[in-house]
Amino acid sequence: MEIVKNWKLHVLTILIVIVSELIGIRKIGILVLMPILYATVFGGIISAPKLKILSMKDMEHASAIFPVALMILLAKVGLGVGPKLAEIMSAKGTIFLQMFAHFLGTMVISLPIAMLLGLRRECVGACYSLGREAQVAIIAEKYGISSEEGHGVMGVFIVGTVLGALWTSIFTSVIVSLGIFHPYALALGAGTSSMSMSTASLEVIRSYYPDPTLMETVQAYTNTSNLLVNVLGLYANMFITLPLCSALYNFFNRFRKQGKAAAAN
């Protein structure tokens, strides 16, 4: 309850909301800047330790409030699915397939890069999932948060929080403007990210395809895929992707060691 009574946080939040929404969506070239991005950045600036506006405790409270406040977003995601259920079921196979694509997608590009950059077991924590709150908890339980795996997942969690929405809107803009993908496929791609990133992608897609009926279906696809990933993700991450990523790391690490040994000779 102490967390809830931190009125300083709530007052700052409503001020941030008002200012962010007043600025509104701005397009700079292919870059789409959104209120959720301003809100994150303003929050980050206000909480910078140098400014001494918020104490360590305030920030801990804010990070405890965040996942609970997220419930309202999740409820809306769920509400968007029901009316479209019948329509979405016609693409059932696709939605399930892209969900598996999501689980492999987190590591397909990132694991090789992480290993080339010389990260060690951090790779496993970083690449086995999108690294949101629930996935941080999985690693914390299995390896401990101060382990190498723990550093990896915390790193990706922070990167996702700070840069997730920005990075997502940048590459979504590029991918959408290429015109290779149908908006439905983009919608399913967008849905596999965390909530804030999904929202960012969806806003970019919306700015390219303003047709409201098309967007309604696009949003329903995104919501369903997002819901599936969120609902099943925890278990898939725990039982499939974490062991898989760990095994892949060990497998490739052998070559890295051999390469080093060969270079030494």
């Binding site: 309850m1 809830v4 939040t13 409503i14 941030i16 008002i18 929404e21 007043l22 509104g24 209120p35 959720i36 206000i46 909480s47 920030m59 990070s63 406040a69 997220l70 419930m71 309202i72 999740l74 409820a75 809306k76 769920g78 509400l79 968007g80 009316p83 693409a91 696709t94 397939l97 694509a101 999501h102 987190t106 590591m107 590009i109 990132s110 992480a114 990260l119 690449c127 629930a134 914390a140 339980e141 948060i145 990706v156 922070i158 929080t161 997502t168 590459f171 979504t172 290779i180 149908h182 496929a185 399913l188 791609g189 804030s196 929202t199 992608s201 303003p210 819901l227 969120n230 925890l234």
Partner: protein, 168 residues
């Protein structure tokens, strides 16, 4: 370290503080939503009262899911799971009152829901910045690769299977 949850009890304090936090997030969303509809030229303006009604309906749905997620044994599954499921069930056409629930909550822009939540996340960021610095630029590249890979692979697979299924 995380504490082991006692799964046979109801978490009353968590429900109480959860209710306050979700309520505040709902009210902030309503304010942000109304501002957004005034700022964005292509949106029909929505009065604050109408926004409040919509966000309180969403609050209700979220609370039902959240309370379920704190019940004995049910809390083994995350609140994410329960809140999402409750939302789906309450908006299917066969659910009594789903018309009202959908119409009322539709006035809330999806983007407006993220702003208050992300503001809280932002306010927690200051303390994580030194750690991110310590992880250096490599983790930033890896993190971006994680996000991009997820989007790309899902979009590619979807494009192929949707084409094969004849949906697009």
């Amino acid at each position: 370290m995380e504490q082991k949850k006692n799964i046979a009890t109801i978490e009353w304090t968590k429900i109480k503080s959860g209710a306050i936090i979700i309520f505040l997030a709902a009210v902030f969303t309503a304010i942000g939503n109304t501002i957004q509809t005034y700022v964005k030229s292509d949106l029909e303006t929505v009065s604050l009262l109408k926004s409040l009604e919509g966000s309180l309906v969403i609050f209700g749905v979220a609370m039902i899911g959240y309370i379920i997620s704190q019940m004995p044994y049910l809390k083994k599954l995350s609140p994410v799971f329960w809140v999402g499921i409750v939302g789906v069930v309450m908006s299917t056409p066969i659910f009594p009152g789903s018309d009202y629930i959908c119409n009322a909550s539709n006035v809330i822009q999806f983007a407006a829901l993220g702003t208050p939540t992300l503001a809280y996340a932002g306010l927690a960021l200051g303390k994580d910045l030194p750690m991110l610095k310590k992880m250096s630029w490599r983790i930033i590249i890896v993190g971006c690769a994680v996000i991009l890979g997820t989007f790309l692979l899902a979009a590619i697979v979807s494009q192929i299977t949707l084409t094969m299924e004849g949906v697009i």
